[in-house]
Symmetry: C2
Subunit: 666 residues, 2 copies
């Protein structure tokens, strides 16, 4: 290695021969501990071009997109009964089927509406996109935030209901519902961070298993009903007793309000209808046609299961328990399948299927939430970090945020489905309303063939959704809906503030940025070498300084100890570095960073470029660094905030001789 | 402001006229919030040259240096009784005076020994200095660490005893001894951080107040003893009952071991003897003579008070209470002064004086501990930060450390004097022994006039100290002394490791450092501009880059998004910055910092100086910064660890137009 000094204008006149600094050590670049941990936990990193999509046939697509929607049938009938029974007693069982049918009417129009959406927005038909396209960015934030809160609730409700299914089969788990459901969330989040991209077939197992078990349950139940063999819940009637006050009959308490309240609880059944419209591009060609027919199949299945279960529960007088377990579906299953060995097997299979599809439903939120959040962030309404793909190409930050929020909800509500339900439907029906209204506007603007029919469908869908939204908002307000009604506007306000900040920054950063790159340089370039004492690290800084060719260069010593400063000045004279004169700055108040700031600030005035060289000692171990005061770092941090003060850290490695190990942290 | 570009070799050939960057804003340098808070809490900063010393006359010097020593008389007799009574019952009262006299013999020789030290080491006669001078650095660490642990204990014991004095007078405070004593420590620490340098006269008030009250107490008590009017503690005998098992008499349990144990408890009385030897330079001339006579006065006063109180307690049969309050001195005072109104006033005055001198004793540790720690740190055996004087010229770090350690002790022991005493004397007698042995060696080496007499005195002092040390170590071992016996060697080992680390660093940093300053510069200077996107902050970095005159310069873009990278490359071509070609580095694993590290590392090989320019956006508010990913900071941190990679942060201010406010943090 030949060390020459080609550009030096002022060769040192030292009497001693110049001593070389230690030779540049070999650099070793191993992976950081954190990266190795990531690899071990999550698997090898995925390259960006490994991002690809599987195309799904209709049966697989149903399995992938329908779990959220279909799994609602596991708790919807129960939630309706839970509102009715305390108010009207056994009359509740007469009201269950009519209310179920009313909700199915809403479902019917939602299916019709989303058939329109799928056709018109075959690439990205989520509420956020449709609202943004038709009403603009701000309404899209409302729709998006409403959906985001709902994804959080889907995770919490599904996991809580899945845990209830488990605890219904094995009552020993009843006491551990909170830790079990938290563990479910952690597991699902971990799998999603791993970015497990199993083929859609894997999803098919729990979905079809659930459909089969429900078919068996409802089929057997209806057969028993027809033959008159259907058992009634004498034993399980005790569930009724757990409620504090049970009304005497329909004439006493069944006001319209109670019925609307019960109807609102049933609203949870139709959540997840929008899932297919988000995922049209994943279907095999012709995408929109396949998506539409899958949507119809999904709606029909949900309708059949929801209605079937309501009919059975109504006839069997199965009332929900106050604590949530055993669930209504579990009790229905136990009675229909009977106590024989074959019946036992079928019952446990039903519970397993219920738990699996509910956990799968939570899993779909982990795909949807981070993607929707990345849309918000891409439009500058959420922190940029949400657009960043992690180690395994998933939006890790969104996954972690969703998991934390869902766990918080589970902890606060004790993982009880009935406590979560009032928070639930507000968000879904807000986004339904906005999305359908957006579709109506779309028809009105585009006036494509059959636009009037589409218009009728979407306006009806929007109005029905809005009515349900009002019913839910009013009847559930004091039960927790107020929180969402309060939260959504606050969040939307926060997001718009964020957006304003981003836009203002972008305005400032991007306006004529390209032209500015060729702006004239500053009039004068001054280099200041910060010198605390004369040691090898300072020598490195001086060596580096001498490679620079500024208009002016000097060394600055902030003098806290006058004797040391005079000693330094004397050594400096001996050095004979005529190009770098030493300036001593008196610092009687020992505020070194402040003094440095003032020195540099006085130079940055008047169009000068100032380079501040900081000798930067790099210690081998963390505790070695702690043994030294951090004044150098403080100077760098403070001075670096001055305009045109360019702080350069000149590294010097301490405690290493042969090889230097450098690892990045992620 | 004329912006010219005198050194540019390659003028840009852009078709558009070059756009200037925003003009340099005005810089405002207000004080930071933290600094303003410091000013408000602690008062205006003191300049280094305001460090000065007051010269003390003998009466003032006694007040300043004697509080630790004299205040021991407030609890020493009680601690002896506390050991004896459970073992020998009322026979304890016959043993109290002989044991007090035995301890006074030790005190006598210690006073004689320290007279020698003061004469021989008139500038700095502390155990650390004497041991270092005679035995070297390592033994000095032992003596120093022993003393440091003792300063912590002095604070804890004195404050606990002061609180006990308060609670004896006002039993309502008994339940709050821990918070009261913690509050005392916080208050004393705060006053010391303020660096209150009151004249010595302020210290005189509590010291002389205590001396006067003790004189009144002992004088009145002895008078009553002579006239036969001395009350005996019939009422307070109930204190005895609180002990679990009380021995029947001297013949049953008074083994030599119990006597030694009791003697060890009395050892706490002689702590603080060394204080004057530390402070000789503060005396008026002739310093050493004044210091010696003050030492003799202090020793005599302590002897008189300790003995007087022991005689009274022995005759009055005042036994300590198990819970610590009321204290023996409080009971003696109550009985001697009587229940009349005059007696009440005197009693409360006695308690006030006791409390005040004890708090003052704790205060002296706050002067001694940080200074001794700064000696250790100055010799590179403790973290350097301990040598740094704070806002008000005091060693703030030492003060805070002492306060935290003392508070921890108070919390663990429940602020009970008798639980702290077993930890106490080990450290004092270790440092006494080492300091006296050091003096003996000093005499042997110097052989100045009368060295044989001095030799005899110091050898006797050393042997007596060592015997007491052994007695304390053995008899108190299981009561807590084991902790100190374990802690001191561990700490000394830690300090020597620290010292080795410092010395190794100094070796590497300082060897031929001056010569290295004129080492040849590197063969080649490469400038790399890290470009994430083309915006005003990048434009600033490019503007700065163009003021540099390296051998090679290029821009580097780590390409996570290929489309964005190609767009950037196209813009770059349009720019026509022929001097700064753009290099695109593919980064399929999205680990930007790692990729940057690899690019820079490949340049640092082979004797090149690499300057890495990082566009550094400076946000106005903390949360604005949080909205952006910190990849730039991560690159700077990681790349900055490479040898010869000089990272320059080129600042660009966002969200500010007219004036920039920069404040240092301390």
């Amino acid at each position: 290695m030949s060390l020459t000094e080609p550009r030096s204008k002022t060769a040192p006149r030292s009497t001693k021969a110049p001593r070389p600094l230690p030779p540049t050590p070999e650099v070793v670049l191993p992976e950081s501990r954190r990266y190795r941990l990531k690899n071990r936990l999550l698997g090898p990193p995925l390259a960006t071009d490994q991002l690809e999509h599987e195309r799904l046939g209709r049966p697989t697509a149903l399995a992938v997109f329908a779990s959220d929607n279909l799994s609602s049938s596991a708790y919807a009938s129960e939630e309706i009964l839970r509102v009715l029974i305390p108010a009207v007693g056994v009359a509740a069982f007469s009201l269950l089927v009519p209310l179920t049918v009313a909700m199915l009417v809403v479902l019917f129009f939602l299916i019709l509406s989303y058939r329109e959406t799928i056709k018109e927005y075959p690439t990205a038909g989520g509420a956020y996109m449709v609202t943004r396209d038709n009403f603009g960015l701000l309404p899209a934030q409302v729709a998006g935030v409403a959906l985001l809160t709902d994804y959080v609730l889907t995770v919490a409700v599904s996991v809580a209901a899945g845990t209830a299914a488990l605890a219904s089969a094995f009552p020993v788990f009843t006491a551990y519902e909170v830790p079990i459901s938290v563990a479910f969330v952690v597991l699902i989040a971990f799998m999603n961070l791993k970015g497990v991209r199993e083929s859609g077939r894997v999803f098919a197992v729990p979905t079809y298993f659930f459909i089969v078990m429900m078919a068996l349950l409802i089929g057997a139940g209806l057969y028993q009903l027809v033959t008159g063999d259907l058992a009634t819940a004498s034993e399980t009637q005790k569930g009724l007793l757990h409620f504090g006050s049970v009304g005497d009959g329909i004439f006493y308490g069944a006001t319209l309000y109670v019925i609307m309240h019960a109807f609102a609880s049933g609203g949870a059944a139709v959540t997840g209808v929008e899932a297919i419209s988000n995922g049209v591009p994943a279907f095999k060609k012709p995408e929109w046609k396949n998506a539409r027919s899958t949507l119809v199949v999904m709606g029909s299945l949900l309708g059949a299961m929801f209605l079937g279960l309501s009919v059975l529960a109504a006839h069997m007088h199965v009332a929900p328990f106050k604590d949530g377990t055993p669930t209504v579906i579990s009790e229905v299953g136990r009675l229909v399948f009977g106590a024989g060995p074959g019946g036992e097997v079928l019952y446990y299979a039903l519970q397993a299927a219920t738990m699996l599809i509910l956990v799968l439903a939570a899993n779909t939120s982990f795909a949807d939430f981070p993607r929707l959040a990345s849309f918000h962030a891409g439009d500058n309404f959420m922190p940029r970090q949400l657009t960043k793909r992690g180690h395994r190409l998933v939006f890790s930050n969104g996954i972690i945020f969703l998991a934390v929020a869902a766990i918080a909800l589970l902890l606060v509500t004790g993982a009880k489905v009935d406590k979560l339900i009032p928070l639930y439907a507000i968000g879904v029906f807000t986004s339904f309303t906005m999305s359908q209204a957006g579709m109506a506007k779309h028809h009105l603007t585009k006036r494509e063939p059959h636009w009037r029919r589409g218009m009728f469908v979407n306006v009806t869908g929007a109005i029905l959704s809005f009515i349900v939204l009002l019913v839910v908002g009013v009847t559930k307000f004091t039960h927790g809906a107020w929180l969402i009604i309060l939260l959504v506007p606050i969040m939307v306000y926060g997001l718009t503030r964020l957006n304003k900040q981003y836009e203002a920054e972008a305005e400032q950063l991007e306006t004529e940025a390209v032209e500015a790159c060729t702006a004239p340089i500053m009039r004068r370039h001054v280099v200041l070498v910060m010198v605390a004492r004369l040691d090898q690290s300072t020598a490195r800084a001086i060596q580096y300084a001498r490679t620079l060719v500024p208009d002016e260069m000097r060394a600055v010593h902030i003098a806290v100890d006058r004797l040391a400063a005079e000693h330094l000045a004397e050594e400096w004279r001996r050095l004979g570095l005529s190009r770098i004169p030493l300036e001593l700055v008196d610092c009687p108040d020992r505020r070194v960073a402040r003094a440095a700031l003032e020195v540099v600030a006085s130079e940055t005035d008047g169009g000068s470029e100032v380079t501040v060289l900081m000798p930067h000692r790099i210690y081998r171990r963390f505790w070695h660094r702690l043994l030294h005061d951090q004044t150098g770092d403080e100077i760098a941090r403070v001075v670096g905030n001055l305009p045109h003060a360019n702080v350069t850290m000149v590294p010097f490695h301490i405690g290493e001789s042969d090889a230097i190990t450098v690892t990045p942290t992620s």
